[in-house]
Symmetry: C2
Subunit: 226 residues, 2 copies
């Protein structure tokens, strides 16, 4: 009874280092900290993440397996560059899977979940106004996956996670950019659909949200690079 949360005393030796290292590197990719084409060196990560060689190595292997990083023929690792074809494939896959996840989640939505999602969504608008795109991306991510989680479809959820990961580097293009907050809030529509218990409407709201986000990224990419 009293030993809950033990081991927190010193250095929090609960989760292994390689898990932590993976989580940190994953977030760097997911939220656009790393630029497309940027070389990712083992030695560099050892310094930056303050970890040993093995944990770093394993984190890189996991991320490459998920498509978040790519190995060049000369055994070096880089952040993958986004191509038009890849972008389309990723969007297509997201549109195929996420509305389905929302639909599966719909009947399992509880008032508690709605409350939590509302809370997350409430943090989004201020982040946009403050120009904190980093925070915006994180909140948006939290919103979507908190919903998908209750669908109980681990397979689709994992796939979706991988897709978001592969979008990450492109989000960097949005980072320094103005975000249009005048657009209709799809999260609000999603929440309304949840309160109404309307699965189809929820799926549609997610679809629209994806399309809206995609559009913003495309604009940013068009403005940023050739």
């Amino acid at each position: 009874m009293d030993d809950a949360m033990q081991g927190q005393g010193e250095t929090a030796r609960k989760v292994p280092t390689h898990e932590l290292t993976y989580a940190r590197l994953r977030d760097m990719v997911m939220f656009g900290v790393l630029a497309p084409g940027q070389p990712v060196t083992i030695q560099g990560l050892i310094r930056d993440l303050d970890a040993g060689m093995t944990p770093v190595r394993e984190a890189i292997r996991r991320l490459t397996a998920e498509g978040a990083l790519s190995l060049q023929d000369n055994r070096r690792v880089t952040v993958p560059r986004m191509t038009k074809e890849l972008f389309e494939q990723l969007v297509h896959a997201r549109l195929a899977i996420e509305p389905k996840l929302a639909e599966l989640a719909a009947p399992k939505v509880t008032p508690a979940l709605i409350a939590r999602l509302t809370e997350i969504d409430a943090g989004i608008e201020p982040a946009i106004r403050a120009g904190d795109v980093q925070a915006y991306l994180r909140q948006n991510h939290a919103f979507h996956f908190a919903l998908y989680e209750v669908a109980g479809a681990t397979v689709l959820e994992d796939i979706t996670r991988s897709l978001w990961l592969r979008f990450g580097p492109s989000l960097r293009a949005v980072l320094g950019r103005y975000i249009d907050s005048g657009l209709p809030d799809r999260h609000a529509e999603a929440l309304a659909a949840m309160r109404a218990g309307d699965a189809a409407a929820l799926a549609q709201a997610i679809r629209d949200d994806i399309l809206q986000g995609v559009e913003q990224v495309q604009e940013a990419l068009a403005a940023g690079e050739a």
Copy 2:
């Protein structure tokens, strides 16, 4: 001019050990060599695959990232057990993706590909008659992915690979079992659709092939375990 293909002399140092190790371990999972629930120890693989610790470690991490292996809370690795829910999810995902891949591949099918697929398919029947289920599984895998490859949809292809991987351990149940060769050959139907250039028919053939395979696995599972 003379140094092309160098380094092949001794031990063929072209592909790194961790790639080889990964490929071997992946195939063990993919083709049902490892049983569901079976513990996978690093030390064991070091012995069995005759590799160092680092390559083994990385292979395991990659496979876990792909869902082919799972980490328990007590930092041990096992082959995931198949549950009814997981099985349904995997089938659902395969049915959603693979016919689509076939459809995308259809317009890019060349006579050369048809010839190659025909050759692969020709090896299947003898394998079944000889009771070599291992060979059957490999040929079946080769057939599907040779087709999917030409679709040029890397994202969907990667996802499919992961799905097949997660089915692997269940295939073990089929390994010692009689395979009904009296069933209609869906590969033949697929080939016919390719020759006719009928994308819809090809997609349908793949769908049927999946369902047929699923049925065989389900029967084997029902017979084998509770």
